[in-house]
Amino acid sequence: MVNKFLFLAYAFVWIIFMVYAWSLSRRQSRLQREMEDLKARTEKAAGE
């Protein structure tokens, strides 16, 4: 049986990295959406 401290140490480290990767991916997709929206609005404003 795996030592509980060993298991917890590895589990916590992977959880931290996964949460951080998820947060990066969320920030990235939010900014990409915002940029596309702004680009469309800028083009529309330039056309008027």
Partner: protein
């Protein structure tokens, strides 16, 4: 050089390297005689700690680059290194007590090494809070550079703490003098694991740099829209 190494390949290399490291940690490295299998925490604890210390070196280099040449890219690099370094430092402060409890019988001791690591973690928080809440262009970057330099000095003290003072924390395995060191298979495991965590560090820094570029582009587009 960065363009020649696509992000997807970088991520693939980091993950494959991590799988190899895990294989070495659990199936290749021998079991330590006194601590048993709990000693295997050492491999990630050491790798996270060394990378967190190196991250402050990168913060320092980026900060100097900004102060010297007012280079936006250097400042972005410092900021990204600090954020990813903070994640690594959190890992150090979690794996440390989880190793200390079975090894020493206590979760924590306020000795020089542990205390300086805790201060380093607080400095990472200070740096990131400064970046998030002080929004005075130019001044934020300069103030952050000062905190970054302070963090770099602390990281040197943290690294040297077990060499300068008697601590609860074990004596160094690298450059620790006579009686220090590891079994050859343990050395291989240590360096492969550290390499994997460094590779992952640079991947995460690159992703974070991409986000900084996107944010700047969004700000520029917003200003353009207001101007029209």
């Amino acid at each position: 050089m960065v363009k020649k190494f696509p992000m997807s390949i970088h991520l693939g290399v980091a993950l494959a390297w991590m799988v190899i490291a895990l294989y070495l940690i659990f199936l290749y490295a021998p079991e330590e005689l006194t601590m048993g299998e709990v000693q295997r925490i050492f491999y990630i604890h050491f790798s996270l700690a060394m990378t967190a210390l190196f991250a402050y070196f990168f913060v320092f280099v980026g900060s100097i680059g900004y102060l010297w040449k007012r280079s936006r890219a250097s400042d972005d690099f410092a900021h990204a290194s600090a954020e990813v370094g903070f994640i690594y430092c959190c890992g150090v402060l979690i794996t440390g007590p989880l190793w200390a409890k079975p090894a020493w019988g206590i979760w924590w001791a306020w000795d020089a090494r542990l205390t300086s690591t805790f201060i380093l973690w607080l400095l990472y928080i200070a740096y990131l809070m400064l970046r998030a809440y002080v929004t005075n262009p130019g001044r934020t970057e300069s103030l952050a550079a000062v905190v970054g330099a302070l963090g770099f000095i602390t990281s040197i003290v943290d690294y040297m703490a077990i060499r300068w003072w008697r601590t609860q924390h074990p004596q160094p395995v690298i450059g620790g003098g006579e009686g220090s060191g590891l079994e050859p298979r343990m050395w291989i495991t240590v360096f492969v694991t550290w390499g994997a965590f460094l590779c992952l560090f640079f991947y995460l820094v690159r992703v974070r740099l991409g986000i900084a570029r996107l944010r700047r582009e969004v700000t520029r587009l917003r200003q353009e829209l207001v101007a029209t």
